[in-house]
Subunit: 577 residues, 2 copies
């Protein structure tokens, strides 16, 4: 007698999942590993740009240690919060957290903050190869120095679609001498006090501030700012002549859009946000906060000298001096100055240069990436505006300035705590017909809310980021928007007001790149598409630290009913009855 074999749906799904995982992610023989990190957060005095200030360190360092893993590995970070009175949370930027939406690290969205004295354990799988980031996602703590890189390689035996001899990570940051709290206090002041331009640009955590500008009869400048401090020795990217290097370049700036260049060396862009790019060559790479790129360089120049690596501010008037590092041709001394002056960056206010790079980024041909759905189920147009609300300056999306609730959405939704946040969703659009994006608008109906967008599970969603004029005449700013829990297809960029009837016809549905962070250029629009297929609650926001703090973000819920049991560790701010 044949025994009827029954699989429950869940068991069957597990089988299918295991099969898919084995086919898609582990084509070679390697085995997924567990990679365990023990990190302790502290406030310490550091001098990243020679100016001494209090920063948040991980195991004594800023930026923190690089997480190095292979595709499919499980990362465990035991995070001890030794800040005295301050909580924290760390976001794993670009990691989709499939099956672990509670470890996305977004305070107020996916978890309660981690208290001083607590050890919180993050545990998640890095399911895709590529270049990713991590950083605090609580208040404006990222600016205090809590950030670092994640590098996920392919399993042994599997090759990238390009060849290189070695790879290097370069993480870019802008740097303020005021504390994150001092900046935040200004942002919520009446009158508004803007954070201003950063004092320095850091390349791998090192910059050089002009200490002599602080000279004062009452201050022994060298105690607070000392250009000879080894902590601010410029970063040296040491290379061997005649090789090909993969540089993983990423930015977590608080504010600045940057251009990065290597004197005398072209760069071939091959990866963006963990996806392979149809290669294209640049002399300078534009990079926005939250983006990562891999470029290939050949060390084929005169080997008897070093070269400048420079990064300059674009899109805003560059008050901040360029960040400088050395491309060090071995065996020249790593601190030997190049015989040249650092090359100037591109013209800061030529938007077309940056739009052209955006348009140049396409998915690499012949690489199997999921093709975009050819139609959408829902289109949400997000008008980005700056406005005044009760005397405060805020950023708004469709006239709604976002604020975070005390109880994280993930917990509120799973536990059906309907009073934890505003149940009215923000609007899917704005007054397309009458709103003038090219001039200062009063935005008099602006409001603040913590309402969220509820998306149908597995539906396809188009997001149109629509830029506009700020509160200043003839001014529109570049905003890099970052989506948690997903990669999205970048369907197009355009100038002016998005035309909901005609512009979708121009969408690139053939070879759009997938990314997790994308700029909306001045007075323009950017169109994205994603599948709402990751059960959880996900932030989507401008990655400029002060802009999100001022309300420039939204939150998406999808498939909340499919989210498993939440770990109790994320619930520290939800009181027992």
């Amino acid at each position: 007698m044949a025994v009827p074999v029954k699989f429950s749906g869940m068991v069957l799904n597990l089988f299918v999942l295991l099969f898919l995982v084995s086919v898609m992610n582990f084509p070679a023989v390697s085995e997924a590993k567990i990679r365990r990190y023990k990190w302790e957060l502290k406030y310490e005095y550091k001098s990243p740009d020679c100016f001494k200030k209090l920063v948040i360190t991980i195991n004594g360092r800023t930026p923190g240690p690089t997480i190095v893993a292979e595709q499919g590995d499980t990362i465990i970070v035991e995070l001890k919060n030794s800040l005295w009175t301050e909580n924290t949370a760390i976001h794993w930027h670009g990691i989709r957290q499939i099956g672990t939406p509670w470890f996305d690290g977004t305070e107020g969205v996916t978890q309660c903050p981690i208290l001083p004295g607590e050890t919180f354990v993050y545990r998640f799988v890095v399911d895709r190869p590529g270049t990713y980031l991590y950083h605090a996602h609580y208040g404006m703590q990222r600016e205090a120095g809590l950030y670092g890189s994640i590098r996920v390689s392919l399993p042994a035996g599997v090759s990238e679609p390009f060849a290189y001899d070695d790879d290097r990570s370069i993480i870019l940051m802008d740097w303020y001498h005021k504390s994150a709290y001092e900046q935040a206090a200004g942002l919520v002041s009446i009158p508004f006090q803007w954070v201003g331009e950063p004092q320095s640009i850091l390349i791998n955590g090192k910059g050089k501030f002009n200490c002599s500008s602080l000279a004062s009869p009452s201050l022994n400048v060298s105690t607070v700012c000392n250009v000879s401090n080894p902590e601010c020795t410029p970063y040296a990217l040491t290379v061997i002549p005649g090789k090909t290097y993969r540089l993983r370049i990423s930015s977590l700036t608080a504010l600045s859009a940057l251009s990065f260049q290597l004197e005398g060396h072209n760069m071939t862009v091959v990866e963006a946000d963990g996806h392979y790019v149809e290669p294209f060559v640049v002399q300078n790479l534009f990079i926005y906060s939250g983006e990562t790129y891999s470029v290939l360089i050949k060390t084929d120049q005169d080997p008897s000298r070093n070269y400048w690596a420079t990064t300059t501010v674009v899109s805003r008037r560059p008050v901040t001096p360029p960040g400088l590092a050395f491309l060090n041709y071995y065996p020249n001394h790593p601190r030997r100055y190049p015989p040249t002056i650092p090359p100037p960056g591109p013209v800061w206010d030529d938007v077309s240069l940056r739009v052209n790079q955006s348009l140049a980024i396409k998915a690499r041909q012949g690489i199997i990436t999921p093709p975009p759905p050819q139609t959408t189920d829902r289109m949400i147009v997000l008008l980005n505006t700056q406005n005044r609300f009760n005397g405060f300056v805020r950023w708004s999306v469709n006239n709604v300035s976002f604020n975070l609730p005390h109880t994280p959405y993930l917990i509120a939704l799973k536990q059906n705590l309907l009073h934890a946040f505003d149940q009215t969703p923000p609007p899917d659009g704005y007054d397309f017909k009458n709103y003038d994006i090219f001039s200062v608008q009063s935005n008099e109906n602006a409001t603040t809310s913590n309402g969220i967008y509820r998306l149908d599970f597995n539906s396809t969603v188009d997001i149109i980021l629509q830029n506009a004029n700020t509160m200043n005449e003839k001014n529109s700013e570049t905003h890099p928007w970052h989506l948690h829990g997903h990669d999205f297809w970048v369907l197009g960029y355009g100038p002016g007001k998005f035309d909901v009837y005609n512009d979708p016809k121009k969408f690139n549905l053939v070879d759009p790149i997938m990314k997790n962070t994308v700029p909306v250029h001045t007075y323009g629009w950017t169109a994205l598409r994603f599948r709402a297929d990751n059960p959880g609650v996900w932030a989507f926001h401008c990655h400029i630290e002060s802009h999100f703090f001022m309300g420039m973000g939204v939150v998406f819920e999808e498939g909340i009913e499919k989210v498993g049991k939440l770990p109790s560790s994320i619930m520290g701010c939800v009181h027992r009855p």
Copy 2:
């Protein structure tokens, strides 16, 4: 048939309690009231001494609002934490919290910290008249400006044992331009960076820093320091000539011991820490952090002018300029400068002057205060030392440097979480015979611990604070020790090493004052007695902010089994299973 009336023990006790309450506390007709306060904590830029820095405000102010109540009233403070990423807790200094040990506000001892976005409700009875204080009891937040006064008057119809026309509160503070975090970072650095002397002394939240000392070519000084800022207009204590005023003078300094004086006016001390004092006259009042005094003054001087109120640093070399305010004789203009120069304070390093004031403070004769028990059940001698531990500079008590656990003791003990803290109690004494308190000692067996003293409920406990030499030659510092949950009898002060056999014979068991904060003078000892009759867990520590942060404290448990059900609101840091 007679119905037997049975009272349960609890009901009977309630009757007895009500009877006692009505007899002792409400001899007149007044009724206890509920006084409700809604406070919001924020970080804001303020210029208390003309220098602009970030401070913690309550409803926009530092110091915060004065709580004004009558004896027996219930105080309800709804505290909204709107600090961005920082927790808090507020201690009600001098309020014994009888029956409400969970609302003492001591983070790590009686409650978990209050998270950003939370509203925590403190609810307690002010059962004794007098002058009390409140302040943050978490990290070093008190220094960030989170402090204020509590004034509890007698019920209507009941008189103080002295007469006055009106009363005024004066709260003294020292003020640093570095943030509490910057100071804390120095204290835990290797090499150690001491916080140094404060920049200013504030009288009722106002001081005057010499802004011109900041002059710098790169800094527009007036943007950060402006002596014309109305926020730093000197405090004017406005009085009408020919009257008697009660001045409630208190200190919550981070570091400094102070002398307070009113030019041309003697002060008659009548109250200390909420207890009536046998009146004595001073020209300058020495006051340590955590102490409160009431003094009477007569406005009997030349009414055509104003007078200086000054406060100067004593016990440490006074690098900080005196704090200045105006004693303003109405109708002279409150900002009219006195025609004199401010009177100098007493010699800063003459310890005998300060010991003499300590010795002068006795309980007021004829006022019924509980007399001290004539014998003790236990004597704990606490040797105060400074020492090095693993390269860090720490303060220790009997060679144990205190640190707070993550789970508050009150919760750990009630829930029997034995692993939440070290179950080994610290020692009751030190090596009396061999330890030389007059020279630098190596204290090589120093350790850190969060172990606590367990006291027998209702026992009488003597505490001897024993001072010693610091790590610097010929240096001993004054420490004001503050006990939570109790008043203690001050049985005596003496020079040198306490003699456990002979010195107790000299204890004042006749008319000792009761206090909650008391100094231990340089190279001397101070003897206290209290009844362990308040079920709960109570901190006892040096009130110098940086000293407690560096380990100078102990914790007492008594009658934990008598503590009622803990409110869930204090448990935010204790995870659900």
